[in-house]
């Protein structure tokens, strides 16, 4: 459902670029509702560390995810640049609004569809199923996040890893 083929037939896609621990990632901009400054985050004791927080987004209680944990990055304290990107994900067929913690949010930019490349299976430090495809801007490579898969993978088991790898090779 979410791979590079979905964008075939389009000249370019708009993405929001953000930084996690110095690495640049991108989210498809059409999925993004708004970008919030750091606000007070309520911890949910006993929840998965990846989604341990809740924030108030215009009267809605929204889970806050820290993607750095999914990419094996260090969790550092919030800085003046820290932002919360509010976006929709689809989990088990239902849309859920979530906030994503970003160390820094850069810009909305257009990526030419022609230069989008499929995620290489090897040579990446992150799990390949979390990356939808790789875009290129100038000489820089930008990994476009497969946000649905990142949230679907909530059990940290290798089986889901293997399953999605299978799914990919089948497709």
């Amino acid at each position: 459902m979410t791979d590079i083929t979905a964008w075939q037939g389009r000249d370019s896609i708009e993405v929001l670029t953000l930084e996690l621990q110095g690495e640049t990632f991108a989210l498809e901009a059409t999925q993004v509702y708004e970008i919030l400054d750091q606000t007070s985050v309520t911890e949910v004791p006993g929840s998965h560390p990846f989604i341990s927080g809740l924030v108030n987004v215009r009267g809605k209680v929204v889970p806050l995810a820290d993607l750095r944990l999914k990419f094996g990055m260090e969790q550092t304290a919030a800085t003046i640049d820290t932002r919360i990107v509010v976006t929709d994900i689809v989990l088990d067929g239902e849309p859920i609004t979530v906030g994503i913690l970003a160390d820094k949010v850069n810009e909305v930019t257009e990526l030419t569809a022609a230069v989008l490349q499929e995620t290489p299976k090897i040579g990446m430090k992150w799990r390949p199923e979390f990356i939808r495809c790789i875009g290129k801007r100038g000489s820089e490579f930008i990994a476009i996040l497969d946000i649905d898969r990142i949230f679907a993978d909530n059990d940290e088991t290798t089986s889901t890893h293997a399953a999605s790898a299978l799914e990919q090779s089948a497709a």
Partner: protein, 702 residues
């Protein structure tokens, strides 16, 4: 509902009609010769057929036509009503629903079997008398359905006037008149008094009234049926004519005579033709025209349906999502208002304070009103179970009497919807396991019919729904034995009745020695428990061996808002539902200092275990010097929750947690506090269970 799609309107209308139909059929099972019920059954069928064909549901119309024809025979007393007919009629009703909801050749093909069945039972009932007329006669008009009856010929005067916009809404007066004329010898006179002068005439409006003298062998209801679809808006008067008038009219019929009619001070031009250009010399005063049929109607059903129609007029349909949106907005308003209150409290401006108070009052009133809008009487839910009980009784060969009370009790719409499944399970269980077979009941000195009672009532801010049976009751020993066998209980554990009975809600627990089609597989009761927990309700069971079981569900009135106690644990603030809070005490310093192994409080002689929420929530901030204990209860168990600070009471709009946090059982939801931060709402049942586990562990280790 913004009913842009007319077929949606039909679906909704049919839904209600089918419900009425089902109720009527089930009532008929008990009161088989109740003519009102038979009539309302017929009427519902007729309306479904009529609007079905109007909205293009031809399969529905065709199928319903046969059922209606069959019921017409019943209505006329040609065929006595038998249980078989009712059973088939119920199946037919389900089939109609299927046809409407899943139209397609597959469903349609099932219809012929039902019709064959219907024909058979009608045949049986009438011993071949009138079955022929229920077999296919492809005319949807009601008239040909009637067999030549031997009712005496009677003369009627029918006066009618359609609403002005009748033609715009699709009524064709000519068809109505034709249909009326087909009933017998009719003389139709048009009354053109109200037709305005040409320049003011709107050709799309219907200004003509009619007076019809009808000599027919059909009953009055046949005349009324002609106007079935327009009855609510039109003016209609049906009066029997005196013999002389009838004779005068019936014998001659042709001469245009001016007759004065008793009772009404009206002179009417009687003419042989229904031409609109008939001159109208005598103006008809308004009062005469406004007579409406039920004034002298012999059938009380007429009055009943009119009352129902009037009730319908005063209400509008609103999609549920809009109500939810409204509730959300109001919730946000209440939150914003409580922020304003905080700001106003720190202000010295008297004007600001008074405005803040005004807004507080308005916001709370608005909230109450909005909540009221969502309340629905539980009757709609109880109604569904009559069919269930009826079907189960047939399936199990048990005679069952279902009594309900408190149908008018109102509950939040969402609660009612979610109660359906648990109640189905509980009723099935009561019927299948609770009620003994008739023979056994008689041996035990009970009446052979089993009784199932459904009752609802309000107590405070809770609604109690109870399901009682007068069956054999729960078998304490067997439950205990089974629980020990399954490892749910340590052997020899002593439990109170209500504690022991709670075990039947454990997943996989069933004492049924025989697994039947309906229950006994051990699924279901845990679903009941889960659903009721999710609704923040509790379940109590009382049972007397040999005399029956009562299961009582205790439910909150609404899911949207609760009163909560705001507490602080470490840096986090949490809400405890106020309904669960019994009292707050200070944690005695000596208890606080004691080893973590002994977490008990002495509350007026009772031993109450307590949980340190700081430990549970991994609070890192230094604890407050004087810890407080909030004593909460769930069912009969009490647990103390140790917190750093009790902040105060707080009206809470509940926001459910997303699926991502579904696994965190400690919290039932979240809310937004006055300063805009999110606070979690504690799930008391979960915490109490946790406290109990610890309690049991400690007792086990001594």
């Amino acid at each position: 509902m913004t009913a842009n799609d007319p077929s949606d309107t039909f679906r909704q209308e049919a839904q209600e009609l089918l419900e009425q139909l089902e109720q009527a059929l089930l009532d008929l099972a008990a009161r088989r010769d109740d003519q009102d019920l038979i009539d309302s059954t017929f009427r519902a069928l007729h309306t479904i057929k009529g609007s079905g064909s109007m909205f293009g549901f031809d399969a529905v119309a065709a199928f319903t036509h046969y059922v209606e024809t069959a019921f017409d025979l019943v209505r006329k007393g040609v065929v006595p009503l038998s249980t078989d007919i009712l059973t088939v009629a119920l199946t037919a009703k389900d089939h109609i629903r299927n046809l409407i909801e899943h139209p397609g050749p597959e469903v349609e093909s099932q219809g012929s079997a039902i019709l064959a069945n219907l024909e058979r039972v009608i045949d049986n009932a009438s011993s071949g008398n009138a079955a022929a007329s229920s077999s296919p006669a492809d005319d949807p008009a009601p008239a040909p359905v009637f067999e030549p009856a031997n009712a005496p010929r009677a003369a009627w005067r029918v006066r009618l006037r359609l609403p002005k916009d009748a033609m715009a809404t699709g009524t064709n007066p000519l068809l109505l008149l034709d249909e009326l004329a087909a009933l017998g010898d009719a003389t139709i006179i048009a009354n053109t008094d109200n037709v305005p002068v040409a320049e003011e005439l709107d050709p799309f409006e219907c200004h003509i009234g009619w007076e019809i003298r009808l000599i027919t062998d059909r009953p009055k209801s046949a005349i009324e049926d002609v106007f079935l679809f327009v009855l609510d808006e039109m003016e209609l008067a049906i009066e029997p004519l005196t013999d002389q008038e009838a004779a005068g009219n019936g014998a001659a019929g042709i001469p245009a005579t001016e007759t004065s009619i008793e009772a009404a001070p009206v002179r009417v031009e009687a003419g042989p033709q229904a031409t609109p250009d008939t001159p109208a010399p005598a103006p008809i005063p308004a009062p005469a025209r406004s007579t409406i049929a039920p004034a002298a109607a012999p059938e009380p059903r007429q009055a009943k349906t009119e009352a129902a129609a009037q009730k319908g007029m005063g209400s509008i349909r609103v999609p549920a999502e809009r109500l939810d949106d409204l509730m959300d907005r109001v919730g946000e308003l209440v939150i914003a208002q409580s922020r304003l209150k905080q700001v106003a409290a720190s202000s010295t401006d008297a004007q600001v304070k008074s405005i803040a108070e005004e807004i507080e009052r308005l916001a709370l009133e608005l909230r109450d009103t909005t909540m009221g809008v969502r309340m629905v009487p539980i009757a709609s839910l109880f109604g569904r179970f009559r069919r269930l009980v009826h079907d189960l009784a047939g399936e199990l060969g048990k005679e069952i009497i279902l009594t309900t009370s408190g149908e008018e009790t109102e509950l939040d719409k969402t609660v009612i919807e979610r109660l359906n499944d648990p109640l189905v399970h509980l009723i099935r269980n009561a019927i299948d396991h609770g009620l003994e077979p008739a023979q056994q009941r008689v041996e035990n000195g009970k009446q052979s019919q089993g009784n199932i009672r459904l009752a609802a009532r309000h107590t405070g801010d809770k609604v109690l729904i109870s399901i009682s049976d007068d069956g054999k009751g729960l078998d304490r020993n067997r439950i205990q034995a089974k629980a020990e066998e399954n490892g749910l209980l340590a052997p020899g554990t002593k439990l109170s009745d209500s504690e022991l009975f709670q075990i039947i809600f454990q997943p996989g627990f069933s004492t049924a020695q025989q697994v039947t089609n309906l229950s006994g597989r051990g699924v279901g009761m845990d679903v009941v428990k889960k659903t009721i927990d999710a609704l923040r309700g509790t379940i109590d069971i009382t049972s007397t061996p040999g005399a029956g079981t009562t299961i009582t569900l205790r439910l909150p009135l609404t899911l949207a808002i609760i009163d909560g106690l705001l507490v602080r644990v470490g840096a986090g603030r949490y809400v405890i539902p106020l309904s669960a809070v019994e009292e707050c005490v200070e944690l005695p310093a000596e208890e606080d200092g004691r080893s973590r192994g002994r977490n008990f409080l002495n509350i007026r002689g009772d031993l109450v275990p307590f949980l340190r929420l700081r430990d549970l929530f991994n609070a890192t901030q230094a604890p407050d010097p004087f810890q407080k204990v909030v004593i909460v209860s769930s069912g009969e168990t009490r647990v103390g929750l140790v917190v750093d600070q009790v902040i105060g009471d707080h009206q809470t709009v509940i926001k459910s947690l997303s699926k991502l946090h579904a696994k965190v059982g400690t919290f039932s939801g979240a809310t937004i506090l006055g300063d805009g931060t999110v606070a979690l709402i504690l799930e008391i049942a979960h915490l109490v269970a946790r406290g109990q586990q610890r309690d049991e562990r400690l007792r086990a280790t001594g």
